[in-house]
């Protein structure tokens, strides 16, 4: 009997808290002008849209063109229209890697190969009749398991870029400020890591020196790290990270050697690569199993600040290339039409992605709130 009373009281307390929270939440929902979001893996978004589980979704390529080419969806907004040249995927280095044998030089050479691969892609994309364009499409088809028409459509809305610069920095500052507002990191955490402000953090977390040093790097006839390859991290089938596919491909250069080999590097996939998410890849950096990796800027920022993962951003991989997709003939013609409707965002964590942040920015510009679906 006694035990029952105690358990009953504890249960009652939990139920009261739950009901009170629910009531609070319902009262929040009553306000007009609210768009709801739901975390979902991008690979499931198209199916969720076609079965009316969600009214729209925002994701990166090729998940956008997947629906467009299949004629089940149309793009309501491209992220480039929300924030032109917005950052997306970046190249991240484990800082401890620099203290290994030839660490600094290996990282500089890697950045050089990344730059050359990016330039090669941009040249290929500039001339759709060229042989290299066909090669690039073929590589992307192999990497993403999508058909060529989806890849070609996706290429139209994303740009590969390795330079960073001031607009990159200010976008990262804006994102970090939003994370603090969203309670996903704190000013105290910035302090814990030795940063005095968000601007100071971005200034020091983004390291331009590798891009600067790359200018002085020449092809090398010998491999600098035989037997101890650089462990490379990247995400599963992420079209934004094509630079690493091209850099590893022996067909791009025309010399029979890949860009990485040309600059004297031996590289292998890190344990766990391709990773399912940037967060998982950052855990690999923490464990020391990833040396250099491609991933979205947000997890690299958040896991560095919150989890103390010793990383630094050394180059950009791409800009733009994400879109908000609604079902074809859905009658949704503007963001206002999304009021009280549900948008799938990549996650969980739902609020981490650049896609989420950009959509939130745009909705707020239009006076709309973006809250989690309950």
């Amino acid at each position: 009997m006694d035990k029952k009373v105690i358990i009953a009281i504890v249960l009652a307390a939990i139920i009261v808290v739950g009901v009170a929270s629910a009531a609070l939440l319902l009262s929040k929902e009553d306000k007009g002008g609210t768009v709801k979001y739901l975390a979902m893996a991008p690979k499931d978004m198209k199916a969720a849209l076609t079965t009316d589980q969600v009214d729209a979704y925002i994701a990166w390529e090729p998940y956008v063109s997947d629906s467009v080419v299949g004629r089940v969806g149309e793009v309501l907004v491209w992220t480039e229209d929300i924030m032109p040249n917005h950052p997306c995927c970046v190249l991240v280095l484990r800082t401890e890697f620099l203290s290994g044998t030839n660490g600094l030089e290996l990282a500089q050479r890697f950045v050089k190969a990344h730059i050359e691969a990016t330039k090669w892609m941009n040249d290929a994309l500039a001339d759709k009749e060229s042989q290299n364009y066909t090669k690039l499409v073929d590589m992307a088809v192999g990497f993403t398991s999508r058909n060529a028409s989806v890849i070609k459509a996706a290429f139209e809305h994303l740009e590969y870029r390795y330079e960073m610069g001031s607009s990159f920095d200010s976008a990262l500052e804006q994102f970090t400020d939003m994370y603090i507002d969203l309670n996903m990191t704190t000013s105290a955490k910035l302090g814990d890591r030795g940063y005095t402000s968000v601007a100071d953090f971005v200034d020091r977390y983004v390291n331009e020196s590798f891009l600067e040093a790359a200018g002085g790097i020449a092809p090398s006839a010998t491999i600098l790290n035989p037997g101890s390859p650089i462990k490379l991290g990247y995400l599963l089938g992420d079209l934004h990270q094509m630079a690493q596919v091209v850099a590893q491909s022996s067909t791009a250069t025309g010399t029979g050697k890949s860009f990485l080999e040309t600059y004297g590097l031996e590289v292998e996939d890190a344990v766990g690569a391709p990773f399912a998410s940037g967060g998982a890849e950052m855990d690999g950096f923490s464990a020391g199993t990833v040396d250099i990796g491609y991933l979205g800027a947000p997890p690299s920022i958040l896991k560095h600040l919150n989890g103390g993962t010793g990383t630094t951003i050394i180059a950009q991989a791409n800009i733009e290339g994400s879109g908000l997709v609604v079902a074809a003939d859905s009658g949704i013609n503007s963001l206002r039409d999304l009021v009280n409707k549900t948008v799938a965002v990549p996650g969980p964590p739902a609020e981490t992605s650049i896609q989420f942040l950009l959509l939130k920015i745009e909705l707020e510009r239009q006076g709309l709130e973006f809250v989690v679906k309950t």
Partner: protein, 279 residues
């Protein structure tokens, strides 16, 4: 209030050996945890260089702090822990009720009738070992964002109950049935008054195991577009952002919820056992 204190006191004083052992083992567990966290950080009593991944294991007190804050001042996805608990409990109980309602009759049938067993076994054995996580995209599309996560929890709870009920129904002592028959019981009587009561302890074992597995499935279930969050979602989000004290706080909450639900199941078992005359 005084009554509760008195009854808690009685509970402790009558079981003091058990309580002392439980407290001692918990203390040892916390000490090992604390030492491990200190070792990763190279804090006192250790020294040297901290591990690169020390923040993955917070101190017990940091977790307790995060646990407290998650209720009042640290929302995840804009939702406080109370709201996450509410979302998870709702999902969990729907899954449990469905699993119970389906597993008990099917288990009884499969336990008592070889035809039902022969027909059901291949399907059960085929589906049982599939990890709930594998169903996520399928359930999302077929069942949607509300019913999909419930279905994942359902799968976790369904099979332990089914198998235990089946085993219970099969192991009814034939002499009991013969005795009942000799006393003039009809088939329905035998079923209701012999087989069913005999199965109750097995059923409750299934429920206890199923509840545990159900909570294990909640993280997987809440990866699937979990509307309104949930404790599993809370764990997933905070781990994804390396807010590790909160991740552990979420794990602690799952543990507490599991203990509470198992406790309630124990109470129900005693009631039901008494009611059907097994105790």
């Amino acid at each position: 209030m005084a009554g509760i204190v008195r009854s808690a006191y009685q509970l402790v004083s009558s079981n003091w050996r058990k309580v002392a052992l439980g407290l001692a083992s918990t203390a040892v567990f916390l000490l090992i945890w604390w030492l491990y966290a200190a070792w990763l950080r190279a804090d006192w009593p250790f020294h040297g260089t901290p591990s690169g991944a020390w923040e993955y294991v917070p101190y017990p007190l940091e977790v307790l702090d995060a646990f407290y804050l998650s209720f009042w001042s640290h929302p995840v996805s804009g939702l406080y822990m109370g709201e996450h608990i509410y979302a998870s409990l709702k999902r969990f109980f729907m899954g449990f009720i469905l699993a119970f309602a389906l597993a008990v009759p099917v288990g009884l049938l499969m336990g008592r009738f070889w035809t039902a067993d022969a027909a059901g076994k291949p399907i059960v054995e085929l589906i049982r070992p599939i990890p709930p996580i594998a169903w996520i995209p399928i359930f999302l599309v077929l069942l949607g964002v509300i019913r999909g996560p419930i279905a994942i929890v359902f799968l976790g709870i369904f099979f332990p109950i089914l198998l235990n009920v089946q085993f219970g129904a099969r192991s009814v002592d034939p002499t009991l049935i013969d005795a009942a028959r000799t006393l003039g019981a009809r088939r329905l009587d035998i079923f209701l008054k012999v087989v069913l009561p005999f199965t109750v302890p097995y059923l409750m074992t299934g429920v206890t195991v199923g509840l545990g597995i159900g909570w294990m499935c909640i993280v997987a279930a809440e990866m699937l577009g979990a509307a309104g969050g949930g404790v599993g979602y809370f764990i997933f989000v905070t781990a994804g952002n390396s807010q590790f004290p909160y991740t552990y706080a979420g794990m602690l909450m799952i543990g507490i919820l599991s203990i509470l639900t198992t406790g309630v199941a124990g109470l129900v078992e005693r009631r039901v056992s008494k009611w059907v005359g097994m105790r």
